[in-house]
């Protein structure tokens, strides 16, 4: 089975938030809520600084606490590339998943259910790229099958130094950042 993931080049990213805007319109995310966001990390003392800019979202973990803790089975691992999804009809809005997520990737939709990045499943299951990837003016975002050793994402991970976020939480995140 395919295992979808993202590989994001922090060297190319300018943190312009186009990914955030594209997600909002594509997925009609309500005002003041976002499924993805930008983190700017600066280290050092002026003028000797190092900066990493990351487009962040649900890490579509391989060991997803949000799925394990869900009392209704709303949070689940889908057949499409292992994407973690929420069946809104089953969700009771208990927020257990939000507490379990080390990435703070989930929020409660005004209609009462938990919501987050779906890797734009409505697009990816048709073979299209997620909205954030397809819109990015710096081409810093890559999406694909991490199981396929010949995919762009796998090749990038073999070629370039990279890291995932909060790996110590043991959730096996599937979004990688090239450095």
């Amino acid at each position: 089975m395919a295992r979808y993931g993202m590989v994001i080049d922090t060297k190319k990213c300018v943190g312009c938030m186009d990914c955030v805007v594209a997600c909002k319109t594509e997925n009609e995310v309500p005002d003041n809520l976002n499924r993805d966001w930008i983190t700017y990390e600066t280290k050092g003392k002026f003028p000797n600084l190092h900066q990493e800019i990351r487009s962040e979202r649900c890490n579509q973990c391989d060991n997803p606490p949000c799925v394990y803790c869900c009392p209704t089975g709303a949070s689940h691992i889908s057949d499409v590339g292992g994407i973690i999804l929420i069946t809104s009809e089953k969700c009771i809005g208990c927020k257990a998943c939000m507490a379990a997520c080390p990435y703070d990737a989930r929020f409660v939709h005004p209609d009462g259910y938990a919501s987050k990045c779906t890797f734009c499943i409505q697009r990816t299951e048709k073979g299209e790229m997620p909205a954030c990837v397809s819109v990015c003016p710096t081409y810093c975002m890559n999406f694909g099958d991490l199981e396929d050793m010949n995919s762009d994402v796998s090749e990038l991970l073999q070629k370039r130094e990279n890291h995932a976020l909060k790996t110590e939480a043991g959730t096996k995140p599937q979004i990688y950042y090239l450095t």
């Binding site: 300018v14 938030m17 186009d18 600084l49």
Partner: protein
């Protein structure tokens, strides 16, 4: 729009009808079932190719309408500017349509200017009022006593009306408040302008230096896309900026320059390139004019001297100069875009052009390409009336290289205040907010007080609209046709902006306003076409293209021509000497330095910081803050303050403060970004926030307005631009 499009629509299909006829209550729902533009419809989704209007880059876009509602906007893959990818502003463009502050109907002022008291009127009444006042101005003072200010291609038809009326005073702040000095500096040196989009070949470069230009925060789409390609290719990037900008984080060399000393660095770079014989000797032998005098003049500028002025370590200055030379001619200094900083900006731009010339990079791949543009014949209009009086914005050609086409906005403001060389009694603004574009708001208000007529045509009630006598609400770019779009670029192309949905209220597109106003001014014969589609079709067909194909595709490419020497282009300089003018006899003749000289900038007094302003990636000027999607991304600006300074005065990240400038002007409250990423002698804020117009309900007083704090400006003696980085602010923590 008309009966024809409805009939055409009914012929398409029942399924289309069902999809497009869903009517809701929100303002962004199409009022009618008409299909607009050239469109395809599948599964209730219509796609309309058009041209973005969120900034001046004008990227090709495709708007999606789902169940009658605007859904999203993507880039048009055929467009060479966007390559199918818009910037965040363009992606958030549908928020322009849903902006809750939008002007809905024409208004006429009922009380004093600026008191925000209005009468709702019909278009007929508003245009009659405007035409009547315009005719009185013409009768009493002459047609030159009216000035028109505009921004973007949306202004083209209105420009036509005002030229037909007889005024030579057509203005855009893009010259004297933005890129004018750059165009003049390059024209004086290499005989050609940089233009828009910039003719920089970033994607093929091996080394690029940015002077204050913060690509990635200014989202000039093609440039940012190419920056990313350059990073991927391993190009060396040199960033010269008092602030550790986003692109500084990608640079091989970051030069934390003291603000206002760029000229010292540039002349020192020139000296190093010459002294170490790193310059392109063959190029200079063939195409250099006055090089020997230049070499002697710059020999005084040593890296050790420059260290004192700029604060940059001599080694770093030398290393970065060598890096530029290492990759010549695929190596360049970016000329920037907003460069009205210190009032010596044309000369600084000339220094940039000269260091570039030492690299022999003009018209070379990886540096500066020679743009080509799709040729489109104009519409055959009657000739404009001849004006009898010289322009009032630059009397006696005081500023010899002031732009003829875009004019001196600050010059016409001055003429309006003083009545010299003759009275200016009417201003009409289109899509430009002069209160925020021009420095010193008091002077702008003084000028407004002299007017018999101020008309503002816009989509939101901006600051300038608040002072207008007549406010005319325009349809947004998603609701109208505009003039054809063809920019000079690497590939010639022609694009069309076409409506995606109807205007929600009583707004009109600019072409209709221009045509109807002309009619009321007895100038109807200047608009021989019935509607804009007749005009567009005429021009497109004259260009040898199919109008229906252009509507269907949104963009048509022209035949590619050589754009570099490497592609067979011939090297050419349109200067008086036919060469690169290291020594400018033109400047000498008018009493200016023929070779750029360094002048020390004034330093902030104790307790004050130099006020710097720039761009944020999700906003354009002061025009997008009320777009609800973009406001959600960034709703207010922050003042960047060095973390050590912040600590020393007891300010934490996220605290609110006010800024007070040297003239006692106090800003609205603004959040502090306490950061390592800026020098200790300056502060920075994103331009365009802190709206002072109450009618901008959702953005009123959110963040601080740099425009309010820029009370001082230094006029560039060469071209009349307004240097605005000469203001100093102190930080107030009380009363916040």
């Amino acid at each position: 729009m008309n009966a024809y499009s409805r009939r055409k629509f009914l012929k398409i299909s029942g399924a289309t009808f069902a999809a497009a006829s869903v009517i809701g209550t929100a303002s962004y729902v199409s009022k009618s079932t008409k299909l607009l533009g050239s469109e395809k419809c599948e599964n209730g989704i219509r796609k309309v190719p058009t041209i973005c209007n969120l900034c001046f880059w004008k990227c090709g876009a495709i708007a999606y309408v789902k169940d009658g509602k605007l859904w999203k906007i993507e880039g048009n893959p055929l467009d060479p500017l966007s390559n199918g990818r818009l910037c965040p502003r363009g992606t958030g463009g549908i928020g322009t349509n849903t902006d809750p502050n939008r002007l809905k109907t024409p208004l006429i002022r009922t009380k004093n200017r600026g008191e925000d008291a209005w009468r709702v009127v019909t278009w007929d009444e508003a245009l009659n009022y405007t035409a009547d006042k315009m005719l009185k101005i013409k009768q009493n003072y002459g047609p030159e006593s009216l000035a028109f200010f505009s921004h973007g291609i949306g202004g083209n038809f209105l420009k036509h009306t005002f030229k037909a009326y007889g005024t030579p005073h057509i203005f855009a702040p893009s010259f004297a408040q933005c890129r004018g000095p750059r165009e003049v500096g390059f024209e004086l040196t290499v005989g050609d302008v940089i233009g828009s989009p910039e003719r920089t070949d970033i994607k093929n470069t091996k080394c690029m230096a940015l002077i204050g230009s913060h690509l990635g925060e200014n989202m000039h789409n093609s440039q940012v896309q190419e920056l990313s390609q350059a990073v991927e290719n391993g190009a060396s990037i040199i960033v010269v900026d008092p602030r550790f900008s986003i692109v500084a984080g990608k640079a091989k060399y970051y030069l934390p320059i003291k603000p206002g000393t760029d000229m010292a660095l540039l002349l020192t770079w020139a000296n190093i390139l010459i002294k170490e014989k790193l310059y392109d000797k063959e190029f200079i032998d063939n195409f250099g004019f006055g090089f020997e005098q230049f070499a002697v003049e710059v020999s005084q500028y040593t890296p050790e001297w420059a260290y004192i002025e700029t604060g940059i370590e001599p080694e770093l200055i030398i290393e970065s100069a060598r890096e530029l030379a290492r990759y010549k001619p695929a190596s360049f200094i970016h000329p920037g875009r907003h460069v009205t900083w210190y009032g010596n900006d044309a000369q600084r731009s000339r220094a940039i052009a000269l260091v570039n010339s030492l690299l022999g990079n003009w018209n070379h791949k990886g540096a500066f390409f020679q743009p080509t543009k799709f040729p489109v014949p104009g519409y055959p209009y009657p000739p404009y009336p001849e004006t009898t009086r010289p322009r009032a914005d630059n009397p006696g050609k005081k500023y010899p290289w002031a732009g003829e086409e875009e004019g001196l906005t600050n010059g016409i403001r001055e003429a309006t205040i003083t009545g010299n060389p003759y009275p200016i009694k009417g201003w009409v603004t289109y899509a430009t907010n002069l209160m925020n574009a021009l420095p010193n708001q008091k002077e702008t208000l003084k000028a407004i007080n002299q007017l018999d007529l101020l008309v503002s045509i816009d989509i939101v009630p901006s600051e300038i609209a608040g002072y207008a006598d007549v406010v005319l609400p325009e349809s947004t770019y998603l609701e109208r046709y505009d003039d054809l779009h063809s920019s000079p670029f690497t590939t010639p192309f022609l694009g069309i902006r076409q409506p995606v949905i109807d205007s929600p209220d009583n707004q009109k597109p600019n072409w209709e306003i221009a045509k109807q106003l002309a009619g009321k001014l007895n100038l109807g014969h200047y608009f021989p076409w019935k509607n804009i589609e007749e005009y567009l079709k005429f021009r497109v067909e004259k260009a040898g293209l199919s109008y229906s194909e252009l509507k269907e595709k949104g963009i048509i490419l022209g035949a590619k021509k050589p754009v570099y020497i490497e592609e067979g282009l011939e090297q050419k300089f349109n200067t008086p000497s036919g060469k690169v003018e290291f020594y400018s006899a033109q400047l000498a003749e008018k009493g200016f330095d023929p070779i750029p000289k360094y002048v020390k900038p004034e330093q902030p007094p104790a307790g004050y910081f130099r006020l710097l302003f720039g761009r944020a990636p999700v906003h354009t000027f002061s025009m997008t803050q009320s777009n609800p999607i973009l406001q959600d991304m960034m709703g207010e600006n922050e003042v960047w303050l060095n973390i050590d300074i912040a600590k020393s005065i007891g300010i934490k990240n996220g605290d609110y403060v006010r800024l007070k400038n040297q003239d006692g002007v106090i800003s609205n409250k603004i959040k502090v970004k306490s950061t390592e990423r800026i020098r200790t002698d300056c502060v920075f804020l994103a331009h365009g926030f802190g709206h002072q117009a109450k009618a901008m309900k959702t953005t009123y007083l959110k963040g601080a307005s740099d425009s309010q704090l820029v009370t001082r400006y230094q006029t560039d003696p060469v071209m009349g631009g307004t240097g605005m980085n000469i203001n100093f602010v102190t930080i107030l923590t009380e009363g916040v």
